[in-house]
């Protein structure tokens, strides 16, 4: 990565559309997501040397965002669990389709994702909606590909059990 001042802004414009729902899925709160994005890019603006030697800016940004989100979740858990529960109810991760059935399914999926542990949620998100391989997820989250695969499997099983009744009603 070069240290051109405009390079960071270009990175922000390119990757924030994907980082926003990723962080929203982890934090389940839009205001916290905005704060974390601000923290991430302001930190890089203050310390541009952190981008030196970065080969995959997208993976680097997802990793940084993931770490920030985990720190935030830990501190938030220690502050107030009631606040977290209130935030989870309002997280709209998906675009709501015009079709009411699809909208209901999107909302149910968003709520079911909130039931997953944060580490499983991150892997499921990167696999299903970012199209990453387990190797790529492992590099991004600094875990082994096997760990990424097992977290994905557990997460998917839980989603399946949570959404089974809805699927049976719709189809």
């Amino acid at each position: 990565m070069n240290r051109d001042p405009s390079a960071l802004e270009d990175l922000c414009r390119e990757h924030t559309p994907a980082l926003f729902p990723f962080l929203l899925n982890l934090t389940r709160n839009e205001a916290d997501t905005r704060d974390l994005l601000q923290e991430l890019f302001v930190s890089l603006a203050r310390h541009p040397e952190r981008l030196d030697g970065v080969r995959e800016p997208r993976a680097f940004l997802f990793r940084s965002a993931h770490n920030l989100a985990l720190d935030h979740l830990r501190s938030r858990a220690s502050r107030s669990r009631a606040h977290e529960a209130a935030g989870q109810a309002r997280a709209d991760i998906f675009n709501l389709p015009a079709n009411p059935d699809d909208a209901a399914h999107a909302e149910a999926l968003s709520a079911a994702l909130g039931e997953l542990p944060a580490d499983q949620r991150a892997v499921v998100h990167l696999k299903l909606w970012e199209g990453m391989t387990f190797e790529s997820i492992g590099r991004t989250l600094e875990i082994s590909p096997n760990t990424a695969a097992s977290r994905y499997r557990y997460g998917l099983e839980k989603l399946r059990s949570l959404l089974r009744s809805l699927y049976n009603q719709l189809h």
């Binding site: 980082l19 926003f20 999926l109």
Partner: protein
């Protein structure tokens, strides 16, 4: 994506970041880059400007230290330098001291009584009074005399046989 369930999940499109969020971030990045650049510029400029200031402060500090040491050497009697005497002056002083010493000795010998000239002027007391020599009459234990020349075994005279 292996099964239908995964495909159905992945079909949902993620909500993208609102445009104002991206614009806010871009503005924050520009602001902080400008601040960082200004701070580094000030820091580098500050380094150049501060050199004469530090030099002046150093000189002031050295001057103050020198004045302090000078004032102390003037007021402290221990640091007075000893006046140097010429050999002639030293000989005069020495002769004067010798004359005074002799005069004092002569006067002292004239003032003393004749009996005191032979006896020691003052008996030195031992440091520990409990170990002072006791009178001979007290040198007896309750059981009987243990000390004193009167309790020595009497001198026995043996007849000397004359070889004649």
């Amino acid at each position: 994506m292996n099964d239908e369930f995964e495909q159905r999940l992945s079909r949902h499109t993620l909500r993208s970041a609102p445009p104002e969020v991206i614009e806010d971030l871009a503005r924050a990045i520009r602001t902080h880059q400008a601040r960082t650049e200004l701070r580094s510029h000030r820091a580098s400029a500050g380094d150049d400007d501060s050199a004469p200031v530090w030099r002046t402060l150093g000189l002031l500090w050295a001057g103050a230290l020198a004045m302090l040491m000078l004032s102390r050497s003037e007021t402290d009697p221990m640091t007075h330098s000893v006046p140097r005497l010429t050999p002639e002056q030293a000989a005069e002083v020495r002769a004067e001291r010798m004359a005074l010493w002799e005069l004092a000795n002569v006067r002292e010998s004239l003032d003393e009584p004749a009996s005191a000239q032979t006896a020691p002027r003052r008996l030195l007391e031992p440091a520990d009074r409990s170990r002072m020599p006791r009178p001979r009459s007290q040198l007896r234990s309750p059981e009987g005399p243990i000390l004193g020349h009167e309790h020595r075994p009497p001198f026995q005279r043996f007849p000397i046989e004359s070889p004649i």
